[in-house]
């Protein structure tokens, strides 16, 4: 690591947590943000089996389309 990079790293590490979060938000690409959000969601609530997820989602899409009058 060059001296310049080391200095930047040091300054980032010294930032308060809110500023660190703000900085992260600013440098994250939409893909990174999407990956992060989806990984958080997928890890939550182990009780819902994938087969159950499929059934619930397919039924919900049909309901949404019926309500929108497109089915």
């Amino acid at each position: 690591m060059t001296r310049g990079l080391a200095a930047i790293k040091e300054r980032i590490e010294a930032l308060p947590i809110e500023d660190k979060a703000q900085l992260l938000e600013a440098v994250m690409t939409p893909q990174m943000r999407l990956r992060l959000l989806v990984n958080q969601v997928r890890r939550r609530n182990d009780e819902a089996s994938d087969r159950h997820v499929d059934r619930v989602v397919n039924r919900a899409v049909k309901r949404v389309r019926r309500a929108a009058g497109t089915r």
């Binding site: 999407l34 959000l37 997820v53």
Partner: protein, 153 residues
């Protein structure tokens, strides 16, 4: 020279299952390929609206304890990750199928998509290809077939 990326629209239920499912499944692998940029995903307001409304359905929300702000953040990031098309194409009389499919097909045609990725075996998959004069032929494929076509991991 870099290979031109395949352009594709992913149907709503594949997107939502890709967001919520945990284990390896074709829907998850398509969603992960979308996030990695293995293909050029296209979305319209119609598709994003369906994704948002589906995620807000009480039984869907309960699957992963989703909050409204979280759903909005996912849909926002999805919009920014994908290429946006208005989805206003209306001349779909040559597509003799259910009205519900038309906004999805409209986004494909307008965006010059190569593929529509869906598991709608009743209405869309039997069509196999939609050819409209002046537009790129649109191939309608299952998530599994699509992954093979793009050689995704």
């Amino acid at each position: 020279m870099p290979r031109a990326l395949v352009r594709a629209v992913v149907d709503t239920n594949i997107l939502v299952r890709g967001i919520l499912r945990r284990r390896e499944a074709a829907a998850v692998r398509v969603f992960d390929a979308l996030v990695r940029g293995d293909f050029r995903p296209l979305v319209s307001d119609y598709i994003l609206g369906e994704v948002r409304r589906t995620l807000r359905e009480p039984d869907v929300r309960a699957l992963r304890c989703l909050e409204n702000n979280e759903i909005d953040a996912i849909v926002g990031a999805l919009r920014e990750t994908c290429e946006f098309v208005p989805g206003a194409y209306r001349d779909l009389d040559k597509v003799p199928r259910d009205l519900k499919d038309r906004p999805i097909v409209a986004a494909d045609i307008e965006g010059g998509a190569h593929f529509l990725v869906t598991d709608d075996r009743r209405d869309l998959l039997p069509l196999k290809v939609i050819m409209l004069a002046g537009y790129r032929p649109l191939q309608i494929v299952t998530p599994g077939d699509f992954l093979l076509r793009i050689g995704a991991r």
